[in-house]
Structure formats: structure tokens, C-alpha cells
Amino acid sequence: MALTCDRVRELASGFVLGALEPDEMAAVRHHVDHCRKPHQELAELGGILPYLAVAPEPVEPPAWLRGSVIAAVKADFQARRPDEHRVVERVAATATTSAPSVLPDATVISLEGVRRSRSSRAVTWITRIAAAVAVVALAGYAFAIQSDLNKAKQDQSHLAAVLNVIGQPDTIKVSLTDNEGKGANGFVALRPNGHVIVNLNGLAVTHGDETYMVWLTGANNVPVKVGAFTVGDDGKGWVEVENVSTSASMWISVCREPNSNATKPTGPTILSGTISL
């Protein structure tokens, strides 16, 4: 569809609002791309749009959305930079395997020092102590790196699961309400086939036998335990279960129980929400 400049001016308001039919939109685009004359009317009217966009009163989204957005971006970053990711894993692997190789070398050096002379014995002992400290420090460092790496892999695995489930068109996603007002947050993603993911943040650390339990209560009003977990310093909780029985409307609650033997919710409800399929 070839358009004249006058016709483009007539269509300008519909074009900037994206309210023309697809063929008209394409024709205006094509004309503007190839026309030597300036079509200032498009800029004049189109300049209004950024201001229409701020007309709605700002609304604060759920707090978990920030973490979800940033996690998705970081996952995308990792996915697009496989080489850098491999380097990180190689460094971590090297650090993990280096600790045992340090131990024999350090031991040999210190024993040789013992054999040299009585006058050098003090220096040798200092060397041995320093070597032992170094070994312990290196082993601790390697352990910390391995822990971080395992944690990162676990987070990455959880993130991949979340993205996979949330990406399904039939997934229901519900933000959970912080009942205690202590900053806990999270969401549940549920598919009609019973695949459930519960992702939680800001939880208090569990001590002793304390356990967080996730309960689903359906139409029969009987709570069913979906999963249980303990929480460390990162305040995160995670449950993923397949084949959970679902009903049209369900109540989900996350309770902190004194031990893992609870067969029904007894402790305080930390987070909760309603799921409607």
C-alpha cells in the first residue's frame, strides 16, 4: 500500500497510538522510512505518548518481583556468557583440588627442617605451625568456595525450575502474604498438573528441630503437607513437588513447626495465600 505524504498526515494520530490496521501501520512505516520530507506531525503527536504512560498513579508491585526480575536477568547473563561461566567453575574446581596437594609438600618441608640442626629447630617449628595454619586456612577456603559453588548451583537450579514453570501458559502464580510483618515474602507457582514450586525469602533462621512446612488446604478443608525445609542464614526456602492434588480453590500456608513430626499445621503461619485455578 503506497501512501502519499498527505495520507500519512491523516493517519498520524492512529499510527502513533498503534491504532491502525496492521497493513496501514506497515504502510506508514514504509513511507516514513523512505520519504525525503520530514514528517514532523508524527513527532509532534508521538511525543505525547511518553507522558500518557505516566498518567496512571504509580503502584508498588509485590516485593518479590524485584528478585524475580534480577534473577531472570542474571540467568540470561549466565546463559549468554557460557565461556565466562566455565572459567568461574574451573577456578572453583582448582581451588577445591589444591588443598590436598598442599598438605604433603608442607609436611615434607617441615620434617626436613627438623633434621637439620638443633639451632634451627625453633625456626622449623614456626615453619611447621605456619604451614599447618596455611593448610587449615586453605582447606577452609576451599571448603567455603565449594559451599558457595554448591549454593550457587542450587540457586541456579531453583531459578531454572522457576523460569520453566512460570513460563508455562497454564501456570498460576500467587504472591504470598507476610502474616507476621517481618519481611518474609515469596510466591507459589502451580500448574494444573499438580507441579508446585514455592519460593520464599526473608525467613527467620531455623534452630534445633524447627522446620518450616508448606500446607495446601483444598475444598475438603483438610491441610495436606506439600513439603518441609529448614532455613539458614540466607533466609531462603524452597519446595518443589510434582503431582499434588489440586482443587478449584486452595489455601496455601507456610508454618514454622517446632519439629518435623507435625501432621497438621500447629505453629505460627508465616506466609499464606489463596490459589484459584
Binding site: 511525543g47 498513579e57 504509580p58 540470561d76 501458559p169
Partner: protein
Amino acid sequence: MGAAPALVTPDNQADWHSEAELMRQVAAGDTGGLETLYDRYHAMAYALALRITTETGLAEDVVQDSFLGVWRNAARYAEPKGSVRGWLLAIVRHRAIDAIRRQRIGVALGDTTDDTLPASLTIPDIWPEVAGRLDAEQVRQALTALPPAQREVIELAYFDGLTQREIATHTNAPLGTVKSRMRLGLVALRQQLVGDTDGRADVPALGVAASAGKKGLV
């Protein structure tokens, strides 16, 4: 819903350029830059997505998808074509309209691979000089001041993603009337927000429309 968060947005040319630097950081793979953008604009983005989709779950998906789109396409942001805020919100609107159109025709939402930029992104933003003295309240007042019929067609197009033909069906008005109302409404909105067109000789269509508007055609 609590009190509406304050609008935090660059309101002068210097801040606008610093935002362009922020976009360069994002394009270079700095996730911290994207966190800054999120912290600055999440409430506006969510409000727009919610206004268009009217569903919190869908709005959340749209916001996440939009910031991911910003992350992936940051290198395509062109400073002369408009502010970062305008660019981001245009993406949010594009994604939100796409979501409700898919919903209308029963197409499932999936990972958005459509990177086609909305029409507004191809149009230079010629208003940076007035951005500092415009706030959301003024825009809302300007919209309210429009004749109801003009406001309706603009809102149906902008916030509901309807085409002129669909608006004609929806409002039971002739297509030509819808087109006139849309043009008159946009021109009137522009006049409300930034004053007259200063007699620009290169916008004859706007001049005709503005004159028609003054004759009371709605």
C-alpha cells in the same frame, strides 16, 4: 494498596544524559545498572502494566518481561530518540498490549521473542526540554480536561490496545468520527501540555485539526 510511591524520574537534560550512561552500562552487561533502573521505574512500569492488563499476575509478567527486554536490547536504546523512561514505558505498553491481545484471541503467553519495537520508539522525542515541568498529575489533568468522547478514544487506543476500527465498533460510532476524535484529542492534549504548535508551518494536518477542535467538533 498503600500510598502511591512518588515519581522519581530525571527531570532535566543532565540527568537524562546520565541515564544514557546507565543504559550503556546495562548494554555492557552490568546487572547493577539494571537494578538501578528497576528501583527507579518499577512502580511506574507496574502501574502502566496493571492499567492495561487489569490483572496483577499478568502485569507482573509484563514488568518482568519488559525489564528483561530492556536488558537484552539496551544496546538498541538511542539517546536522541527519547528518554530512558519513555523507552522503558513504551516497551511495557507494547508487551502489555501484546499480552491482552493474545488473551483476547486465546493465544497462550510464552517467552516473548518479538523484539519489534513499538511505533513510538521510532519517533524522536522532541519534548525533552519540557520534560522537567511536566508531572503525572498535569498529564492526568490534561486528560480529564479533554471532551469525554476524545478522551475515550485515546484511552481505548492507548490503554486497551484497540484499533480505530475496533473502537468504532466498541463505541458504536462511525470510523471517520473515531479518527477525528483521536486526532483532535491528541492535538488538544498536546496544547494542554506544552501549549500551541507555535504556528509550525510543517504540521499542516495538526493546524487543520486544531482549528476544527476550536469549532467544537468532537
